[in-house]
């Protein structure tokens, strides 16, 4: 349940990879040596680890199309644990190296295998694996913040804080907690009142106005093919910060600060047959909140129709592309968007020349160098809840536009970006009056709910969509 080493690597656009931070945990290494006996493989120096890590992640030699060590088809890329094949000073395989990468950063650690080394134990039997994953994810969000993209100065200052952060959360290689965002180093430590102990993760006292802010965000994904043989897909997943009472929620995952759960809440599952008899709320979550904003619970839900039904038809005629698009807003969806935009990219063609396209509502922006049409639908659909686009585009430019291996010939998509305030598709909501706070201070309760889109695709029905639906095949 410990880590032998931790590395943080930056790899800007595949160039100039360097180790920005590393930490060896000597006492854990000492244990690793005893545990592994003759099959012990020492942790090499960081420059060697860097090279091996890049090779294993397929990032080394970006200009070479084939490198045997990197590209072997036998490589088990599907495991979360990498093998680093060391050649010098001694041959050996360093396993299991966990690595996560986001943007320019690669974070890696080597969990201790506290089981007999031969035969190699399954990952699932080593608690240090899930601990390593949790810890890496925590360090990642500490370094990159929730936005995921800090400037280089911000990153440098957080890296500089890491030694003192590790002193608290992982002093000797056994991770105790993930680094806390926002509030570094020794805050005032509360002690309990009476016999009630305080959670270890509540490291400070709240100062300021007593406000409970509950935000419910539903995210909708969709794949619409407009084709008989392909089943359209959509599902909803949600991050909410307090329980609703509404339609059945599935795959509920709760934050560890939730102290108890009703077994009915957990029964409904998206991967199973929904038999209609499932629990339908109310969902109650007693919890003791940590100091920082957190995700109390998440759920998925299956709704009968997509909020916006789209149809997309392309027709190639005489060096021109004839475009025809319709969007219908479902009647259950509030016709009041914070934003709603449709993006129509065209790949593997020359740059656009003449664009003769009319929209029934909203505004059309043409970006000729990107071969992209952006259709701003504004805040409202018209009364009859339907909008259309019709017209022709000629790709008569002399230079080639952007390319994409997926979208060749008539394979093309529209991607929708929208946000609707004060509504959810599942009907899930947080009852402001049911938020009970056991506190001497009377906090103000604020609740909100939003519906936003993510990966909302409408594929051209006259082209071959690049996927088929698994459900109907199996």
């Amino acid at each position: 349940m410990s880590l032998r080493a931790l590395w943080i690597v930056s790899n800007e656009r595949g160039q100039n990879a360097s180790v920005r931070f590393s930490r060896m945990f000597a006492t854990v290494e000492h244990r690793a040596k005893i545990l592994a006996g003759s099959s012990y493989v020492a942790v090499p120096e960081e420059s060697i680890v860097l090279q091996l890590l890049l090779t294993e992640l397929g990032l080394s030699d970006p200009n070479k199309s084939y490198v045997a060590l990197r590209d072997d088809c036998l490589h088990h890329q599907r495991s979360p644990a990498l093998e680093l094949h060391i050649n010098s000073p001694e041959r050996g395989v360093l396993w299991p190296v966990l690595a996560i990468s986001q943007g320019p950063l690669i974070l890696a650690c080597l969990p201790l295998v506290d089981a007999p080394a031969e035969p190699r134990p399954p990952l699932a039997s080593l608690l240090s694996i899930s601990q390593g994953l949790t810890f890496l994810a925590g360090v990642q969000s500490f370094l990159l913040g929730s936005g995921g993209k800090p400037d280089s100065e911000g990153l440098a200052s957080r890296l500089a804080m890491l030694p003192s952060v590790l002193l608290q959360v992982c002093p000797l290689g056994t991770p105790l907690d993930v680094p806390l965002l926002g509030q570094p180093a020794a805050p005032a430590v509360p002690t309990s009142v009476g016999n009630q102990k305080l959670p270890a993760w509540k490291t400070g006292l709240h100062r300021g106005r007593a406000v409970v802010n509950v935000a419910l965000i539903e995210t909708v994904r969709s794949m619409q093919y407009g084709n008989q043989s392909r089943q359209d897909l959509w599902d909803v997943y949600v991050t909410l910060t307090l329980p609703p009472n509404g339609s059945p929620l599935q795959d509920i995952l709760v934050h560890p600060c939730v102290t108890s759960l009703d077994s009915n809440i957990l029964t409904s599952n998206s991967v199973d047959n929904y038999d209609g008899s499932a629990f339908s709320g109310p969902y109650k979550f007693p919890f003791s909140p940590p100091m920082e904003p957190f995700r109390l619970c998440s759920y998925t839900s299956q709704v009968p129709v997509p909020p916006i039904l789209g149809s997309y038809h392309l027709r190639e005629e005489k060096n021109q592309l004839h475009v025809s698009v319709t969007f219908k807003l479902h009647e259950s969806v509030k016709n009041n968007f914070e934003y709603c935009e449709a993006h129509l990219p065209f790949f593997n063609r020359n740059q656009m020349g003449n664009v003769d396209v009319k929209v029934s509502s909203g505004q059309l922006d043409v970006s000729k160098e990107k071969n992209l049409l952006v259709w701003g639908l504004g805040q409202k659909f018209p009364k009859f809840r339907e909008v259309t686009m019709e017209g022709t585009i000629s790709f008569s430019g002399s230079t080639p536009g952007p390319s994409d291996p997926l979208c060749t010939e008539l394979t093309a998509y529209i991607k929708l970006y929208f946000k609707v305030a004060d509504m959810t598709l599942s009907g899930c909501c947080v009852d402001q009056h049911s938020v009970q706070v056991y506190s001497s201070a009377k906090p103000r309760i604020v609740t909100s709910r939003d519906l936003i889109s993510k990966d909302y695709f409408i594929w051209n029905s006259t082209g071959s969509a690049p996927v088929s639906s698994g459900q109907i095949m199996l």
Partner: protein
């Protein structure tokens, strides 16, 4: 000054941690340690620098303190620093404790219970018990946490170390009101687990012993405290987690039903478990799972109250700890409904939009190692499908082209297993059809020029598909066709295809798919019209055909036709271009064909190709190799060719040792003159080098313009089996003066008298200065001390081939040396009373210095001499 010093240390410490070995090259570990300790002791450095100075001791204590005595000394120093550390530098104090732990553990002081480690343990326990900070501002509280962490690590490295303190630690945990209770809980749990393990190893231990241990009253149960021997931590078993589940054998402690004390401790720990961070909670649950597994008297149901909370968690480590719990207790804690729920949850989490890729991969791994309540058979760590994973359930994680590579491959692997299982039970499912369609979608992306990552992913997916389904003829042959088409459009995929062929051949030994693919590739390559063939494609085709030629089962006539066509066709300017790389590619194919089992039927066309290359390829290296192969082909027997090449393959198959075992086909020697006394030398090829035969001798034939000694520079060019050419410089070759000596061109029919008259005639001509080039004539005298026998030996040794007079005339020798192209040296050697006289006459006075230094070589061994 301080700032400079600090910056200097920052640089040095970072250089050390970057590469300790390189850093210590410039210094010794001892010196560096002394420097660190000295700087830490003094007051020059700020505490933030001092914190930095401790990091080498924390991270690499075994480099700096390789022996226990050095560890002991260093620890004593650090402890005295700790005592003197002002209370306000808490961070430094904490790091001192960490450094002490690292040094003492890694130098094995802890395991041998050294004096310093005992003192340190006492110090830590003292800090852990000092709760005075609760009533002050809490500034030194981090010290208490760190002390607990250090104690936990010491216990982890030397299990049983704190067994006797169990009651103390339990009390500290229960009484701690601040959030520090987590540190005490972690420490207490580990010590409890190790103490119980320790008891399981005692043959007679039972309920009383356990009770005594928990009560801190060990002396009651044991007559002497020493009876409970600390576990030998050189034995790795004690450091391991217990292997829970059907494969594991858990040591047990028989206590009888009465286990009140242990139960109450367990329930108190579990009741407060939700107060811990997920990471600590997971560790706690796992340790307690081990304890309950070791003590059968405690029912697993102690965990029941926690289960719902754990099953609903969003934290990967908590769910994992729950899975391990299920592994240990199966249906004594988890009902069939729980089991079904957990599996569905794992499937849902494997594709949950909020989770990152590594977590999803981990959950898929957990599905394939799902701890079933009633496992069928004992899978020893291999991936197996849980019985409850129905195709319908698995359909939630079908691979799609929108997945990232790793997720897609993991899904493909899992779904393939599901389909395979289905296929065994009934009709060949739609599932496989879906997976094949998915594979072709990927292939389609490649055809449209996918990125390098997608290319690599496709070939991995193809291997996985073949791994499971290569026995299904329909898909196997369809894939062959699609790969051939792909190759024709993207010949640069040749290395990937060859890799796929190699791996399928190696891993799927029962399948002939790899050969089928190669045959088909040979077909599409050789049947395509030459007119469209670019040099770029040709170079990949040659690589591919070389691989095809390695297969004995595949007829090679079409390959030969192709090669022949490529080099002879009128549209091809290949031979004229003399492109070395392509030539090497051509030879690579030929080389493989030389060992093809059907070589007999290939003999003539192959010989024709090699001969054509020998004569027409405008690169001498290629020509020479072609000539060599031709020679091998036409002169050696089949068995011998196989022998030659087998050696080469051995060398190739282990690339690591390739350099050591390098086999060389032929060497081309090249010479450079250092002056213009000789004609230019042409290169010499040394063919057919065989390890087991004596190395061939090479004679150099020099043609002097002037018969002077000289030096030749020499180099060798050779080609190894991997097709690389190497150039190496050989030692210089010295041509001495005497190596230029020849006998004058005389008819062999001449008798001694005729030769003597020639000598006399020349002698007379030179002395009289009457010839055509008489300006070059010169005579001289060289003397040296020699006995009569010595003279005879000298003449025999050096001048016998050039001797004109009779050897028996022991006092008068006449020697005639011819130095090409047209110089002569005549020696009249005779013993006089004081010395041996060498009378010299030559028609080239330029030679005199060389004659002199040559004759002086006799002097060095035979005494004084003089040249007049």
């Amino acid at each position: 000054h301080r700032a400079i010093m600090a910056a200097n240390w920052v640089e040095r410490i970072s250089a050390f941690s970057c590469s300790p070995s390189r850093f210590l090259c410039g210094s010794t570990a001892e010196a560096f340690l002394a420097e660190l300790l000295c700087e830490l002791r003094q007051d020059r450095a700020t505490y933030s620098v001092k914190v930095l100075l401790l990091s080498p001791l924390c991270e690499h204590p075994n480099l700096l303190c390789p022996t226990d005595s050095l560890g002991e000394e260093t620890a004593l120093e650090l402890m005295s620093m700790f005592v003197q550390c002002p209370p306000k530098f808490v961070q430094f104090g904490c790091r001192l404790l960490l450094a002490l732990t690292s040094v003492l553990v890694c130098s094995c002081c802890v395991s041998i219970h050294s004096r310093a480690s005992q003192d340190f343990l006492d110090l830590l326990l003292q800090i852990a018990q000092d709760t005075s900070d609760l009533y002050s501002d809490g500034a030194v509280r981090p010290l208490r946490v760190t002390a607990c962490d250090c104690l936990r690590e010491l216990e982890a490295c030397s299990p049983g170390l704190l067994s006797q303190r169990l009651e103390l630690l339990s009390g500290l945990r229960q009484r701690e009101p601040s959030h520090l209770h987590q540190a005490y809980t972690g420490l207490h749990t580990l010590v409890l687990r190790n103490a119980v393990y320790q008891l399981t190893q005692e043959p007679d231990a039972g309920a009383q012993h356990l009770k005594a241990l928990l009560g801190g009253n060990t002396t009651v149960a044991w007559e002497a405290e020493q009876d409970l021997v600390p576990i030998d931590n050189k034995d790795s078993a004690v450091l391991s987690s217990l292997t829970l589940g059907p494969m594991g054998t858990v040591p047990t402690l028989q206590t009888g039903p009465d286990c009140k004390e242990l139960r109450s401790i367990l329930s108190s720990l579990l009741e407060e478990s939700y107060l811990l961070t997920p990471l600590c909670q997971a560790a706690l649950l796992h340790r307690l799972t081990e304890v309950v597994a070791m003590v059968p008297a405690v029912p697993p149901s102690v965990f029941r109250a926690q289960l719902l909370r754990l099953l609903g968690t969003s934290e990967v480590c908590l769910l994992h700890a729950t899975l391990l719990m299920k592994c240990a207790f199966t249906d004594s804690l988890f009902s069939a409904e729980d089991e079904a729920f957990m599996l569905k949850r794992l499937v849902a989490l494997s594709q949950h939009p909020l989770l990152g890729t590594p977590e999803k991969l981990f959950y898929m791994d957990c599905i394939l190692h799902f701890p079933e309540n009633r496992p069928i058979g004992c899978s020893d760590g291999d991936e197996t499908l849980p019985v409850l994973l129905t195709p319908r359930l698995a359909s939630a994680i079908v691979p799609t082209v929108f997945n990232d590579s790793a997720t897609m491959l993991a899904r493909l692997n899992l779904l393939s297993m599901v389909c395979l299982e289905e296929g065994e039970e009934g009709e060949e499912g739609k599932g496989i059809a879906y997976l094949y369609e998915h594979l072709t979608s990927l292939l389609h992306i490649l055809e449209n020029g996918g990125s390098r990552e997608i290319v690599v992913t496709f070939f991995r997916a193809a291997f996985l598909f073949l791994f499971y389904f290569c026995h299904i003829e329909r898909y196997a042959s369809s894939l062959v066709g699609k790969l051939c088409n792909l190759y024709l459009c993207h010949t640069n995929l040749a290395p990937h295809l060859i890799n796929l062929v190699d791996q399928t051949q190696d891993k799927l030994t029962e399948s002939n798919w790899a050969v089928e693919l190669l045959k088909a590739l040979q077909g599409v390559i050789t049947e395509a019209p030459f007119t469209k063939l670019t040099l770029h494609d040709l170079s990949w085709h040659l690589k591919m055909l070389a691989r095809v030629a390695e297969e004995g089962q595949i007829p090679q006539h079409s390959t030969l036709r192709f090669l022949s066509g490529v080099i002879t066709s009128s549209s091809s300017s290949l031979c004229a271009s003399g492109n070395w790389r392509l030539g090497n590619g051509l030879l690579g194919v030929c080389c493989c064909l030389l060992v093809h089992p059907a070589l007999d039927s290939l003999l003539i066309p192959l010989a024709d190709i090699l001969q054509h290359l020998t004569c027409h390829y405008r690169d001498t290296d290629i020509q020479d190799h072609a000539r060599l192969y031709y020679a091998i082909l036409t002169t050696l027997s089949r068995e011998k060719i196989a022998g030659v090449n087998l050696n080469l393959y051995d060398a190739e198959s282990c690339p690591g040792e390739a350099n050591a075992a390098m086999e060389i086909f032929s060497i081309r020697l090249h010479f450079n003159l250092t002056d213009n006394h000789y004609e230019e030398l042409s290169d010499i090829s040394v063919p057919c080098l065989f390890r087991e035969r004596p190395s061939p001798k090479v004679s150099l034939r020099l043609k002097p313009r002037r018969p002077y000694p000289t030096t030749l520079h020499a180099s060798a060019i050779f080609t190894t089996q991997d097709g690389l050419s190497w150039l190496t410089v050989l030692p210089d070759i010295y041509v001495t003066f005497q190596q230029v000596f020849l006998s004058p061109p005389m008819s062999p029919a001449w008798g001694r008298n005729s030769k003597l008259s020639l000598f006399e005639g020349l002698w007379e001509e030179i002395h009289s200065g009457s010839g055509e080039d008489s300006s070059d004539y010169v005579t001289s005298l060289f003397c040296c001390q020699l006995k009569e026998a010595g003279l005879l030996a000298l003449v025999k040794e050096h001048f016998l081939p050039f001797l004109i007079s009779d050897l028996r005339a022991k006092e008068d020798f006449k020697v005639l040396l011819f130095l090409p192209p047209q110089s002569h040296v005549l020696l009249h050697i005779g013993s006089k009373e004081d010395a041996v006289h060498f009378d010299i006459a030559t028609d080239n006075w330029h030679l005199l210095p060389h004659i002199s230094s040559y004759l002086l070589t006799f002097q060095s061994t035979r005494g004084a001499a003089a040249l007049h």
